[in-house]
């Protein structure tokens, strides 16, 4: 099992750092899956997470100048590591002006991701800052826990409003209530609602647009038959939603959510070279 990678381009480094910062805001511990072409940050839906799950996918070629990976076995050419993304975020934080950043899987006394940042210095040799981030190697028998979640059979799929706006609305609502209701219909309308004994607040968004999905057999999705005005709704933990929105450092190219009434809300945030899916289950 070997892994080594290198970033020399500052723009790529900043981009990668931003992705890691987002992940760090969403999960205290998560799984890093390495394949030949991609990196995945995965959080599976355990009770400990409050049932949320996350699937974030990056093409390594868009970030790394060098990327070499040898998995656990030839026919399972992948590596699954458990790590604290905040550590990685911190290691990259002070690499803003780095000449190069190398990441390597090591196992001196215990498995680590070693992040070596080469910084410019006035002397002939560079300044090197090394961070050893402890990781856990996840054995192959547990890999099934981390499969890509399938798109749920949703009732409504709708594009999200401008994230900045949505974030400030949710942030203010967070002070008033622990849960928030997201409801939306196929006419591009979405409402965010909170309701307490003292107050209820609803924010209405319209003209958001609904993405069209085709199912595997090429037909239009089953939502075709649904009344366009009818709202699908789910009550979710407001903190989880706020974390998701607050963690976005860059505006996504596409942002949408799929609502399964009273069951789950599936958020999809797409950037040029990163895709993030986040599932927040409905509260009972």
């Amino acid at each position: 099992m070997r892994f080594r990678a290198k970033i020399v381009d500052l723009a790529c480094l900043n981009h990668f750092s931003r992705v890691i910062n987002t992940i760090a805001k969403l999960a205290k511990t998560c799984t890093l899956r390495l394949t030949v072409g991609k990196l995945y940050f995965i959080l599976s839906d355990k009770i400990a997470n409050g049932g949320v799950s996350m699937w974030c996918e990056l093409c390594q070629g868009n970030f790394f100048n060098e990327f070499q990976m040898e998995g656990v076995a030839a026919e399972h050419n992948e590596i699954y590591l458990e790590l604290v993304p905040e550590n990685l975020s911190r290691a990259l934080k002070t690499a803003q002006s780095a000449k190069a950043v190398k990441i390597k899987l090591t196992n001196k006394h215990y498995p680590c991701l070693r992040v070596a940042v080469e910084l410019p210095s006035l002397s002939s040799s560079s300044r090197i800052v090394t961070h050893d981030i402890p990781v856990g190697v996840i054995p192959r028998r547990l890999w099934n826990d981390f499969r890509e979640p399938s798109v749920p059979d949703f009732d409504v799929s709708i594009y999200l409003p401008v994230l900045k706006t949505m974030k400030s609305v949710v942030e203010r609502m967070k002070n008033l209530s622990n849960s928030i209701v997201i409801e939306a219909n196929l006419s591009g309308e979405m409402n965010l609602k909170i309701e307490t004994d003292l107050v209820s607040v609803t924010t209405h968004f319209k003209d958001l647009g609904n993405p069209s999905w085709t199912s595997e057999d090429g037909c239009q999705s089953s939502t075709q038959s649904r009344d366009p005005e009818s709202m699908a709704e789910a009550r979710i933990d407001i903190k989880k939603l706020q974390q998701l929105l607050a963690g976005q450092q860059v505006n996504p190219t596409k942002a949408l959510c799929n609502i399964v009434s009273k069951r789950i809300v599936h958020f999809i945030l797409l950037h040029e070279d990163v895709s993030l899916q986040y599932f927040i289950p409905a509260l009972v």
Binding site: V84, N87, R90, A91, T94, S97, H109, Y110, P120, S121, L122, S123, S124, S125, R127, I128, V129, T130, H131, D132, I133, P134
Partner: protein, 409 residues
């Protein structure tokens, strides 16, 4: 702001000429403490900075003006002048010396003018009215040389202890974790520096000392704010390590105990426990105007003070506004075989200002290096008189322009 000053001309003229070599325009920044001239070339590969303390001028009068347009009250007024317009004023420095009795500089931001007025012999008065462009302050865009704060920033703020390890070829700061059990869970950071990054580096023997970074952070922030380089003196593990900054008008010294080798080994062999720190008595002091001898421990202190160092007075310091004494802390020498302290470092008590600590000098096998800041800083004490003639100082008062570095220490 309005700036009046009468100055020693040839020197000022030569400063303008020096700056002129860098660029066609320069920043004229009068601040409360003096006048700064800065220039950067178009390719941003050269930066010049000359600061005249208020004492350079026969008369320096500067008034702050709050600028409603700006968000915060800006105490300084940076303005950009075209060198070509200013050079004629000071073109023939030798002639200036002979003919000009006095030069005054007035600025008035309201009508965007700077006036240079030369009072010459025979009653001749030459007045040059120049317009300037108000602009944002020129920020130092070039990376400062090794600042200790820039090194420590790589450690997380929660990092308690750091080990400094030196060989003649290498300087290394790395995080230190005492509890073996914690190791697989903790992120460890290590910074390697080349000795030639430092202004002065002298290492006689390989050495490794571990000290508490948290206690140092205050000095790091202070050093960064004042721009004064930090010098580090240390010997071997167990002996204290001293971080000091030393400037014309202030000095500061933080002395920290280091983990002794014996305790380090014991700690790793035995199940985790709080080891004793072998302490040497130490004191952190600022430049106190009063020299009091150290007072004995205040009642209620846990440890008995068995020894507090006396300090030799330093001679010939310039008067300059003394910085208020830094937080005085005193670390008592541990009572031999003493009881486990609740923190592994003996608890500190606040004391009234005590005499400055000099006892570190003269310890055998002293290892000492400075950090570079904007060129070599002489460690010789400047005497108060000569500095008025200096054209350049090492201080770079970034904080005047609200460009406090974002780094956290």
């Amino acid at each position: 702001g309005v700036l009046h000053c009468f100055l020693f001309l040839p020197v000022f003229g030569r400063a303008i000429h020096a700056i002129a070599r860098i660029s066609d325009e320069f920043w004229f920044d009068p601040v409360e403490k003096g006048l700064a001239l800065r220039s950067v070339n178009s390719s941003r590969s050269a930066y010049g900075y000359i600061f005249f303390s208020a004492m350079f001028f026969q008369h320096y009068c500067w008034t702050a003006v709050s600028q409603p347009r700006r968000k915060e009250k800006q105490l300084s007024l940076p303005c950009r002048l075209i060198i070509k317009s200013v050079l004629p004023v000071f073109r023939y420095v030798n002639v200036l010396e002979r003919n000009v009795e006095k030069c005054s500089i007035y600025t008035n931001i309201n009508d965007h003018h700077i006036t240079f007025q030369l009072l010459c012999k025979h009653g001749v008065v030459k007045t040059y009215n120049l317009t300037f462009q108000e602009c944002d302050p020129l920020q130092a865009v070039f990376a400062k040389h090794v600042l200790l704060a820039d090194v420590m920033i790589h450690f997380p703020t929660s990092q308690e202890e750091v080990t400094l390890s030196v060989t003649p070829m290498k300087v290394c700061f790395k995080s230190y974790t005492e509890e073996e059990a914690d190791l697989p869970k903790t992120m460890l950071t290590e910074i390697q520096l080349n000795p030639d990054e430092f202004d002065y580096f002298q290492v006689g023997v390989d050495s490794e000392v571990t000290f508490c970074l948290k206690e140092l952070r205050g000095l790091l922030a202070f050093s960064e704010a004042t721009g004064v380089p930090v010098s580090i003196h240390f010997a071997v593990s167990g002996k204290p390590i001293a971080f000091s900054i030393d400037d014309m008008v202030l000095e500061a010294s933080f002395v920290l105990a280091t983990l002794s080798e014996v305790e380090k080994e014991t700690a790793s062999q035995q199940p985790p426990r709080s080891p004793q720190r072998q302490e040497s008595a130490a004191a952190a002091s600022g430049k106190a105007p009063h020299r009091e001898s150290a007072k004995p421990a205040s009642p209620g202190a846990k440890q008995e003070v068995t020894n507090v160092p006396r300090v030799a007075e330093r001679e010939g310091r310039g008067a300059g506004g003394a910085a208020p004494a830094e937080e005085e802390e005193e670390v008592a020498r541990a009572v031999p075989g003493g009881e486990a302290a609740e923190s592994r470092y003996q608890k500190v008590r606040r004391h009234p200002p005590c005499s400055r600590w000099r006892a570190l000098a003269g310890t055998e096998r002293m290892l000492r290096f400075h950090s570079l800041f904007f060129g070599a800083v002489s460690c010789k004490e400047k005497d108060a008189v000569s500095h008025t003639r200096s054209l350049a100082t090492a201080s770079d008062t970034e904080e005047d322009f609200g460009t406090a570095p974002s780094s956290q220490v």
